[in-house]
Amino acid sequence: MVIVTGAINQAFINGLKKDRYFDHLNPKSAAVNTLYHRLFVRSDRWRYGDLYGLSFLHDYKFELEPFKSYKKTDKQKKATNNILYIIGDSYLADKTLSGAFDIFDDVIFLDRRFPMDAIKLDSTKQNYLIMEFAERNLNDYDPDKTQEIRWTRTQLKNKVNFSGSVNPGSPSPALPTNIFDRINKVIFNKDISRNLELLLFDDKIFTPFKELKATLNYKLFNRTDKGVAVSTDRQRLLMNITVDTAYRQSSFRRITDKELQQLAGRLNAANEYYLSIGFKKVVLAGIPNAVSVYDSNRMTYNRLLERVEKNIRFPVISIFSQMISAPGNVYYRSDTHWNPAGLNLWIAEVNKCSKAW
């Protein structure tokens, strides 16, 4: 009954997921010895990469190298009067970047995956914006569907200037107003099964069983979790939606010139909107899908990033060719995202480009 109650309590489950996600990133602390940690937090779902956590393929169980924390050093304390805003996704989320860039006093990251309220730009400073996209998310970009487009002039004036927080200005999720809807949401919570699995079978003692099952299915039938694909050279895991042409996010889905022009038009419109609310310069930074870098001969690569970069009317930070020619890995082999080398490469490119801004 206690377990079921826990599974119904979505706030508890969300907290738990967060604790698990950050557990492997945190240095060993006193929290590790708590009963809560012992019972609920010890999980391998994130420790070896999100794609390993989906597939549990033992052959792709690699420790994730930690990211460097780019804190401001004393040397950087000289005010440049420039602030960098980044509206981005999981590639830059949870990273400390305040000291990463030479010409910026501060870096404010806005995570577009979560709700965010309007921000007020500091009019005494020069505000720059990087629109960071993973390649898979770029195709469906529509400024009319963003939260920023709904910021009103009054909101923009009244809101404070957030700084340093992971997700500035995020409003708390609204509860259903109707009492029946609230009860419904709790008692008939559609995620109970998933939550129960998370509570009961996500501890690392179950990992060997999950790995055995995954290995059986992979070795016998070449079948993995539907969220995961294995690269042609079998060296890494890839996110399946970036591979399978049935998905819009696929690097191999044919994109016509007309579609491309429409996308470029939407990006140009976004650029104009951001300039109109006070940004001095807007820059596009597309992060290639891992499959585009390591397995682009798998099918016919649609070259979305390169084509978009040629068709928009504002500056871009392009790292695709550098990633292809990088000597070592720039992406984790068991995770969707880049590794510290990939991030460093991007930061270096931002620093190089920003000198000309």
Binding site: E197, F209, L212, F221, N222
Partner: protein
Amino acid sequence: MLFNSLLFLFFFLIVTAGYYLLPARSRWVWVLAASCYFYMYFRPQYILIILFTIVVDYVAGILIEKAAGKRRKIYLIASIAANVGVLAFYKYYNFFAGNVNFLLGPSAEHQLPILNFILPIGLSFHTFQAMSYTIEVYRGNQKAERHFGFYALYVMFYPQMVAGPIERPQHILPQLRRVSKFSNKLFINGLFLMSIGFFKKVVIADRLGLYVDPVFSHPAGHSALDLLLAAYFFAFQIYCDFSGYSDIAIGAGLTLGIELMRNFNMPYLAVNISDFWKRWHISLSTWFRDYVFIPLGGSRGTFFKVCVNLLVVFMISGLWHGANWKFLIWGAFHGCLLILYRVIKRLNIVPKGLLYLKWLVTFNIVVLAWVFFRANSVDDSFYILHKIFSLNGFFYTAQAVMNPDEIFYCIFIIAAMLAVEWYLGKARENSNPKKILLTLALAVACYFLGIFNETQFIYFQF
């Protein structure tokens, strides 16, 4: 709630434990509450629909019993009209409106509105079960149930309310009233049967679904061999899915000391089409036999009339499965096959013996008919059949859907299931420790070989 979900496992444990811990006289409240939750988990507001039919049939049962003469029939008709009305509105209205609008043409001034709602889950099952109650009371085979709770539980008993077996009141109501003590044998038999059901569902049906679903969704992109294989695989997917559900339902009932009727009896071993319908979805076949075919005249009357009756019953049975022309064609096809069988039998030209040949012909005809049932549309089914029979491109092209190793594994596991099913059926007579071991072995197999994507049971949509 899906049987193949972790939530169900907890639900089952809590309900079963609570059932035996509670005093006998309050157990019905517990199971009824659990059944309400089970049903409401799909869509809470639809409980009102089922509650409406429960109230109507409960009152109708008492009125039918008390009345005499024509009034009895009036009450029965009113009850059936209410049940069929609900079914017609929720299941058939959009089909009807769509066809009327099609006939009127897109430029017609008045078009019937197409309503946007989700079909209440298992509607056809519990409506048919409810109707069998009033009919049996009318026929005098069943006393009207005075206890509203027991009657509600008869309609809503959670193991079978959304996909059968469609029970009869004479069989279930006395069992619900009986105070059953915990029986080791029944309980272990129940768990054993449930594990067989889960095995059929997650190890076989859902694995076959990985091939069947994409191939039937894009028949034009597949060769004749791919489509033929998909047709055979679907025959076993639907069997394992539906009989798996029935096994779980019967097993869950047994753990509470309640025996539900058998719904399948190795249907693919049938040696003629009539035999097939005595083995497939037995509770529905017998429902149509008792409440539609016999009242229409059954096997009495001229040969022509019997044939017409058969065709009508099977076309209704086809439509029972879904509001779509493809189901109607599937039902009509089976009706025609039964008529053909009767003609052959009447002409006495069926050779004696040759059981293997008879089985082979029956099985292949049934597989052929499933194409109408599974294809996305009537056009698709004719396209698939045409492609299969044209033998155009008789090579395997669906490697991206399923690699040949997995295809062979599927064939092996189907063959093993057919071979072992007979043995497992007999294993119910085994000693308890043997059954416990088999149950555990099946559970382990389910975990390692099963597909856990919470795929809904195929028959839930009906």
